[in-house]
Symmetry: C2
Subunit: 284 residues, 2 copies
């Protein structure tokens, strides 16, 4: 596995691969790999000739009050894990080379970023779409792989790619969960043992909603009453949002028709956790 | 010469060329070709294997009070001229295929678009950078050619390409002028004979400024006094702006050090005209 730090070197390598007819897959990450990241890499290894994993804790997607400085890092362990999976290039740019002096260009996807996390984190998605577009241009992938854990991010990137006519496919892969159902996240590290137990409320709420809809319930009001009760089970949980949305536009819906996405964000102590669930009417 | 209207067909063709190792040149235009456009195409013909000219009167770069509806068009003549130069593909998308329902992504270059035309036309450059990025993704050029007539646009696109790590070169080509010095523009068509004479004030002001600076004048105040006097020569001229700027940042300067750009925009009757001039200290 090669480690590339210089953006120009990364692009030179990518253009060489493209000229040789290779199929490039990119998995963009902020590092501190868990099984969720590894599942994206394993998928990427299967579908492409050249697998690039980017590791960049992108400052422009963190708000001024957020956890940029303490975001967990373990570069040596990340290298080892990526190598084991057969990653070809780990691309690890410095912030200074991604945003040199004079930098002034930003990309916004306007509608799908308005609600959910976009409402709580006003500049977050502008930071995400801008850095992802830069990574696409540097790595030149035909396929880019994202986790469904960050569901609004996935939908936003898919919209970016369609709207800007980028010649690549954005693939979303299923959430990987701990044995007890907590969605894997680098931020789970912040939870103390009590909070770790409390954090299960997200999975419980999602499962309850899935069961309701599978059983024929379609009314937002009744689904969300159950979700809210389960999220509020512990007094130290603060709900950032709980939303029942159209899976592709992310617009709030009143009635489930076929399928919907339940999107949840809660704060437990100092830690903000998100999760989401596909709710499907039973087809029987 | 092939005429392609469908964006996906354009991209398929471009990716085939790239896979075959061809060097693609793009000249983006809004049509109604004059000698200025043709000089960009002639340059493109020389430096590339495959020459694509896009012809798209992009609605998102016109303000609500501007001349989108009456912008001059002559498709048959444009086809003939492009064919004579040896253009390979004339890419003529419809607005509906560039901005289909649900479209919501925009690119902004923040600093270099603030002054000059950006100050008078607040959403203009957002429209330009977004459509140009889409064209780059559809046509996949290694070289894109723009005229220096739209100098702020050229600088903005160069910034876009550097900031977003696009693997292509943006080439600016000199302004082509009528025999009497008026910069060629599709909008010159709007001028009646009296206005056409009045329009020469731009060239006269630019020449006077060039002469002053070549002769050793470096003070903004004295250069701009002469420029203003020449622009105000006719009572029907309204100055939108007259600016002495750094050639790459477009920041206003007080003293010419080496080189500066004089950027002018005036309204003559209903017509808005722009022009710009490189001012260089004499090296003797």
């Amino acid at each position: 596995m090669e480690i590339i730090r210089n953006p120009q070197d990364m692009q030179d390598q990518a253009l060489k691969w493209r000229a040789a007819g290779q199929r490039i897959v990119l998995v963009p990450t902020m590092g501190f790999f868990h099984q969720g990241h590894l599942s994206l890499m394993e998928y990427g290894r299967k579908v492409g000739d050249c697998l690039v994993v980017s590791l960049f804790v992108n400052p422009t997607q963190f708000g001024p009050q957020e956890d940029l400085a303490q975001y967990p890092r373990d570069f040596d362990r990340d290298c080892e894990l990526a190598q084991q999976i057969g990653v070809d290039v780990l691309f690890v740019p410095e912030a200074e080379s991604m945003y040199p002096p004079g930098y002034q260009t930003y990309v916004t996807v306007e509608e799908v970023t308005q609600g959910l996390c976009g409402a709580c984190r006003p500049t977050h998605f502008r930071g995400v779409t801008t850095v992802v577009l830069k990574l696409f241009n540097l790595v030149q992938p035909q396929i880019a792989v994202f986790g469904e854990k960050d569901y609004q991010q996935l939908i936003t990137i898919q919209r970016l790619v369609v709207d800007l006519n980028l010649p690549l496919a954005v693939v979303g892969r299923p959430i990987v969960r701990e044995a007890d159902g907590l969605a894997m996240s680098s931020r789970n590290l912040y939870l103390n043992p009590t909070e770790r137990q409390t954090a299960l409320c997200l999975y419980r709420a999602g499962q309850a909603a899935q069961k309701l809809v599978a059983g024929g319930e379609v009314a937002r009001e009744r689904i969300m009453a159950v979700v809210q009760q389960l999220l509020n089970h512990s007094p130290e949980t603060i709900i950032d949002y709980m939303a029942l949305v159209d899976p592709s536009t992310l617009a709030e819906i009143d009635t489930v028709r076929g399928a919907a996405r339940l999107a949840l964000a809660v704060r437990i102590g100092q830690t903000r956790l998100i999760d989401n669930f596909l709710l499907e009417e039973s087809r029987s």
